[in-house]
């Protein structure tokens, strides 16, 4: 019984965190939102060198064959640093769904993959920059042709319609892949929530009104304490889901709720400055809103959880 990351896992986290901290990820995200994907794809390659893309790819096809614990550790950091790109699709969904070893090897190396999995993930993220685009159908995974782009509340999420191009697809473990994507999204949400809280705490310690730091008022303190408490109890569900102790949907619901509370409270304690696109808080406020409904809405996951509880 050791319900804490191992020292290897902490080292891995520190390495990824170090890379991201030195990469001006906010500038990368802003460029990505403007259509300049060059810095983002460079960062993509550097993260691939760290092994992030290869975590769930089996070892015999050039991956790391790591556990879902490593996956959520990496994705929490991607969320915390606001890294753009189809990470969930490329590093969490496709490595589980694909059986084609050539593409798996390419993804592990840093090729960009994406997928639409209707009805719960109807559009493919960043399909215009992807090397491999798929559509999940009732019968399996098929190649996808990129259609019309849509605008998300999170400007870094460029979503595209995808139509199937070749055949019916062979049977694939799409439910497991969906779970993996939900888990990775939950991790990103937790990371985003942690970032929102950290930035909010910094801000309320600096901002003074009525002669005091606003963080000394209980109205602000209690709101931020609730954010801390929510995140503290979302994390064990994330790690527990990574270990298979609870369904991935439990992590998705809990991390979504906690991160959303962090974003609402964070926005509120910042006041008007937080409501601007220019201020960096906007990167995470908009991302959280988008991720809450990505890869399974809270309603979907709650419904599935209830079914599994009642059936148990």
């Amino acid at each position: 019984m050791r319900f804490e990351p191992t020292s290897d896992q902490r080292d891995f986290a520190a390495a990824v965190d170090g890379l991201l901290s030195a990469s001006d990820t906010v500038a990368v995200a802003r460029a990505w939102a403007e259509g300049d994907t060059e810095p983002g794809l460079r960062l993509w390659s550097r993260l691939a060198e760290q092994g992030v893309n290869a975590l769930l790819v089996p070892e015999d096809v050039g991956g790391l064959g790591a556990s879902r614990v490593e996956l959520v550790i990496a994705f929490e950091l991607l969320g915390r640093h606001g890294v753009p790109g189809p990470w969930v699709e490329s590093a969490a969904y496709l490595p589980v769904a694909l059986t084609d070893t050539e593409t798996l090897a390419a993804l592990a190396e840093g090729a960009v993959g994406t997928v639409a999995a209707p009805p719960h993930a109807p559009l493919a993220l960043d399909a215009d920059v992807a090397d491999h685009v798929y559509l999940a159908t009732a019968t399996g995974l098929v190649g996808g042709a990129v259609g019309t782009g849509k605008v998300s509340v999170d400007r870094t999420r460029r979503l595209f319609e995808v139509s199937g191009v070749d055949g019916d697809g062979s049977p694939a473990p799409l439910d497991a892949a969906f779970d993996s994507a939900a888990l990775a999204t939950a991790a990103q949400l937790l990371g985003a929530g942690e970032r929102l809280l950290a930035d909010s705490v910094t801000y309320v310690k600096q901002r003074k009104q009525f002669g005091r730091e606003i963080g000394s008022y209980q109205a602000i303190k209690h709101a931020l304490a609730d954010v801390r408490i929510g995140l503290d109890f979302a994390r064990p569900l994330l790690l527990g889901a990574a270990l298979g102790e609870v369904p991935a949907g439990a992590a998705k619901v809990a991390c979504g709720d906690a991160a959303y509370r962090a974003s609402r409270t964070g926005l509120q304690v910042h006041g008007a400055i937080g409501y601007t696109q220019e201020f960096d808080l906007s990167v995470w406020v908009t991302k959280v809103r988008a991720l809450v409904t990505a890869w399974g809405t809270p309603a979907l996951h709650r419904g599935r959880l209830l079914e599994s509880l009642v059936g148990a």
Binding site: M1, R2, F3, E4, P5, T6, Q9, V69, L197, V201, V204, K205, Q209, F210, G211, R212, E213, G215, S216, Y217, Q218, I220, K221, H222, L224, A225, D226, R228, I229, D232, F233, A234, R235, P236, L237, L239, G240, L243, E245, V246, A250, V253, A254, R302, G303, L305, L306, L309, V310, A312
Partner: protein, 420 residues
């Protein structure tokens, strides 16, 4: 990283499960806050103790099993899963005993712990006073030195003393140095509730039962041997349990997991009639699971030598709010009969006290904000509230000192024990 129990932990779990299955009363005991229920609960404690299940984490010499933290959490899970009775000895074994182990003399340990373990002597906590609730350090009850008799003379009043209506002994803080400020000059006393000069007046709680009481002290003599820790050091002694490595200040998640499982059961029966309760059922289960897993993380950190610290406040807000939400959902499911006496209604009424006792959730949030997030402390009530006048030039038309928050320091909450 794993959630696997070791062979010996699994054996411990199996032994506990087997004993509980064979011994937990088939019918719930009457409420411990009635005369009849009190006796039944004391008998249950005796039964637990005879089989060495009453204080599993204590040393063997005091009827324990020297259970590890992991085993303690496992035991609690099994205990509540089996539907075993609430612990009438809770205040003593979870709140006072860790202090006696850490600060008590050998003589005190030998005198108090054995009867506490068997439930023969049940302890009540005497913290709050009429004018000292959240601001516990402002307590006024006094202890006057009596050199001739070798002890102290207590005067004053305690209130909201859980279990005091029927308990045998009490523990609490008294002001032994009238000159000292707030947290200084307090002494931790142990006293029989039938001592000369002690008057206990039961208070009917929301459900009509005497779960707590007022306790009046009129020249009550306490000999030196019933002082816990050094005179004047009471605050530090009382606070020292918060991070106790025996984990006794952890509120065990087993209780909430068992309640969430029963809620799922209730949903199976009534869900069709009240479909809107669906999210409440899922969330209660999720939050109980979150608490269970969180506790395993805490146990891992404590086993590595970490301290509970302010995380106890994070905990307390979580389980107390979870408890209410869970029971509200149950009452939703019960529909028009929810108001009638039932186990769910009892649980609901009890849950309402959770955000209040053991330090209100407002105090806990202050602690989380100040000690974990590092937000600035409240200005002291005695000092000026910041510089309110200065802010008017920043565009506020009328700043007054009322803009500040009037309450005194939130730096020290109540002792972070959680038993009620």
């Amino acid at each position: 990283m794993d959630l696997e129990l070791s062979e010996s932990e699994l054996a411990f779990q199996a032994e506990a499960r087997e004993w509980l299955a064979a011994n937990v009363p088939a019918q719930p005991l009457p409420s411990m806050d009635t005369a009849e229920g009190w006796v039944a609960h004391q008998e249950w404690e005796r039964r637990l103790a005879d089989a060495r299940w009453s204080v599993v984490s204590w040393p063997r010499a005091y009827s324990g099993r020297e259970a590890s933290l992991v085993e303690w959490v496992v035991f609690e899970e099994e205990y509540y899963r089996a539907g075993a009775p609430g612990r009438v000895s809770q205040n003593g074994i979870f709140l006072l005993a860790p202090i006696i182990f850490d600060h008590g003399t050998q003589e005190q340990q030998d005198r108090f712990l054995p009867t506490m373990a068997t439930g023969e002597q049940v302890w009540a906590q005497c913290w709050s006073e009429p004018e000292a609730g959240s601001d516990l350090a402002s307590l006024r009850s006094t202890a006057r030195r009596d050199e001739a008799r070798g002890g102290w003379v207590l005067n004053g009043q305690k209130t909201w003393s859980s279990r005091a209506s029927f308990a045998h002994w009490g523990f609490g803080l008294f002001r032994s140095d009238p000159e000292a400020q707030r947290h200084q000059g307090l002494t931790y006393f142990l006293f029989p509730l039938d001592a000369d000069g002690v008057t206990v007046r039961p208070i009917a709680q929301l459900d009509g039962e005497a779960g707590f009481a007022e306790v009046f002290f009129e020249d009550v003599f306490v000999p030196d041997r019933d002082v816990l820790g050094a005179p004047g050091d009471g605050w530090r002694v009382a606070m020292s349990t918060a991070g106790n490595e025996r984990g006794l200040s952890l509120r065990s998640p087993g209780r909430f997991c068992a309640a969430a499982d029963r809620l799922v059961e209730l949903w199976r029966e009534h869900g069709d009639a009240v479909p809107t309760a669906a999210d409440g059922v899922v969330d209660a289960w999720l939050k109980a699971q979150a608490y269970r897993l969180y506790t395993w993380g805490t146990v891992t950190r404590l086993a590595d030598g970490g301290e509970m610290g302010a995380a106890g406040s994070v905990n307390k807000v979580w389980w107390s709010e979870l408890d209410i939400a869970l029971h509200e959902t149950a009452l939703d499911l019960l529909g028009p009969t929810a108001e009638l006496e039932s186990r769910w209604l009892d649980g609901y009424t009890f849950s309402l006290s959770g955000p209040i006792y053991a330090g209100t959730n407002e105090i806990q949030r202050n602690i989380v904000a100040e000690r974990i997030l590092g937000l600035p402390r409240e200005p002291k009530a005695s000092s000026k509230q910041g510089e309110p006048k200065a802010s008017s030039k920043q565009g506020e038309p009328k700043a007054s000192s009322k803009q500040g928050e009037p309450k005194a320091s939130s730096k020290q909450g109540e002792p972070k024990g959680v038993a009620r």
